[in-house]
Assembly symmetry: C2
Homo-oligomer: 426 residues x 2
Amino acid sequence: MDTQLRSFLTIAADSDFSIHNLPYGIFSETKDGVRRAGVAIGDKVLDLAALEEAKLLTLTGGPYFNKPTLNDFIESGRDNWTAARSQVQSLLSAETATLRDDEQLQAKVLFDQSSVCLHLPLHVPGYTDFYSSKEHATNVGTMFRDPKNALLPNWTELPVGYNGRASTIIVSGQDVVRPSGQIKPNADERPIFSACRRLDFELETAFVVGKPNHIGQPISIDDAWEHIFGMVLLNDWSARDIQKWEYVPLGPFNAKTFASSISPWIVTLDALAPFKTDLPVQEPKPLAYLREHNSDTTYDINLSVEILAEKADEPTVVCNTNFKHMYWSMAQQLTHHTISGCSVQVGDLMGSGTISGPTPDSYGSMLEIAWNATKPVTLSNGETRTFIEDGDTVIMKGYSEKDGIRVGFGEVRGTLLPALDFKFMN
Amino acid sequence: MDTQLRSFLTIAADSDFSIHNLPYGIFSETKDGVRRAGVAIGDKVLDLAALEEAKLLTLTGGPYFNKPTLNDFIESGRDNWTAARSQVQSLLSAETATLRDDEQLQAKVLFDQSSVCLHLPLHVPGYTDFYSSKEHATNVGTMFRDPKNALLPNWTELPVGYNGRASTIIVSGQDVVRPSGQIKPNADERPIFSACRRLDFELETAFVVGKPNHIGQPISIDDAWEHIFGMVLLNDWSARDIQKWEYVPLGPFNAKTFASSISPWIVTLDALAPFKTDLPVQEPKPLAYLREHNSDTTYDINLSVEILAEKADEPTVVCNTNFKHMYWSMAQQLTHHTISGCSVQVGDLMGSGTISGPTPDSYGSMLEIAWNATKPVTLSNGETRTFIEDGDTVIMKGYSEKDGIRVGFGEVRGTLLPALDFKFMN
């Protein structure tokens, strides 16, 4: 990585959005203003639609950026991803005069991040959620099934996953209404209709599919990385009591479909490349279709979760973990997803599953952090939590850092609103 | 129903596509020709795009029909559904001169069904599959869990469902490649990579969402019917051996995501209205949010499955059943789906789950018909089947009939192709 690369813009040393990052998002100047593509740089947004119109970007095909989602740009292919990254990096470089020395142009294409609205960056045709943290799967299995056989037999053989609900993928900042549904507080009685009483977050990342495959034509493990555009942070909100009652035998449904929040900036795999690291040792060795040739097929990404209570002045960090703990790689997830012939589409999101590390302070959900409500967490203002309360804001952050260079995701945040007041009773 | 209503066209008495039906589809004159909306009438297709252009349809907004999917028309709302149905019915009526007496116009707007190509009629943003046949759930529970407790406790309390994969919804006539993946033939050994050895169909119907809801705003049971546009037949192809190994704890994934076939014509609820019938008695009485005011909230629809072996001259009927056996109504499914705040979108498909009746000849999957491969079925050419073989074509049909009036779905058919020849081994 070119550690000498500098921008003409002043960028704080701890900014997630260094010139090495250049993540893509969709923004507008006002709430109902024109949505178009931008790149985050320091505390600014660079307007790609304006650059494209000014003919300062030279891509094949297009135009791509004066659009309300990034799908068309992503679909245009890897050559364009590389070209756009390199051209934007050059335009922002301290060595390039074009934008550096043109204040009028700067005024036209650079906006304060704090002044713009960020939107869902993608049309998401499909959403899949994996379950690829060994620690998380072990913790859940220990609590709800059998501590001696916490991991189910298929877990070490394949990246377990399930289809999620794409229609309720929302962007950071959008509030979440506490869901209602069937819960069963008493084993000997019928279920009741109630607001969820065990509302949880799940700290995840998700990758964005950048290249589709055809139905009946699986993506091989050797090709899988070419199909991935980038990554976002994901809070896979979960209603634990609804989930417990509904999920056998066909998996989670209403417990997960009410909302899943993603961060607004898509960090490309190109930006994350310097932070590649080894996947944990996989034992048993995966079947051939899941075997990668290289070992450095995951990324060193620091992740954290904070809870900001409605009446608190500052958030409390409840989790610090790292993406590198994940057992299955993103390429393995994608290959397994398509091995039966399933097709994926540009903009599909593939969630990692809850990212839990090996120690209690690195667990990625309240279910695990407060160990099934037996170990309440104390917040900075003295309140305690076993699950998320109305008015709480959950904030997830992520960044990679190496040799003084930082590439971050910013954050995904969401505030929990009270449940609806249903008129009907049980 | 107006049993005197007749078309000026000659329509066979056993045609699914009487003037009382008028289902919507998407067709083109050649494989790569312009896709547009049509209505099936007898053995013809009526070109709605041409009628619209000729100003013979008067709808609010539009144009709607010179498009490759029906989504825009459906999204335009119930008033337009009613108006289009009534105007098309009038144009096709023996009492109306407009089309009847204009041979030039007929030549322009009527095509032989046998000469056109039929396409996926919808863009399907989301696909959900329910599990609402008590007989099917009981059969599966008896085979794979505990015959004494075949139905899980949640089954009679809520319409169990899971998110499916929308990207692999295909239209009748499209071939299906036998999927490969992980199966575990020997309980004491590791899984192997293999072509599926237990390839099954599932006889289902699906309803089409015609009106969306907003995230966080459930659809009440009283409003649910207003959100449903119509129904199709659905073959939810299933890989039983892949499913058995993968599905605990998060539900079916690769076993179902390789293909789900639907019939090309969407039969509207308006056309099905005369065939309303009582839902089975629900005991225990559902929680209030799932309670309907009327009892006639299902439909009397005869359903069948045929297998046509590659070397057979004629298909063999392996199942005769009826939609009216389903325990949960479509309104209950939709209300439950959204009760947590999940949003649905126009074009979403909601599968019924396998439709099995009370007797072995009415079971809706090979798993049940051949009772977990213990009771092979003999086909008309003497071959036997426990699951579907390469080269087999599976044909599902459905129709309602009452007072001499028939409203049918046509068919959904698909041929199973051999598995891919994977170069890698275990």
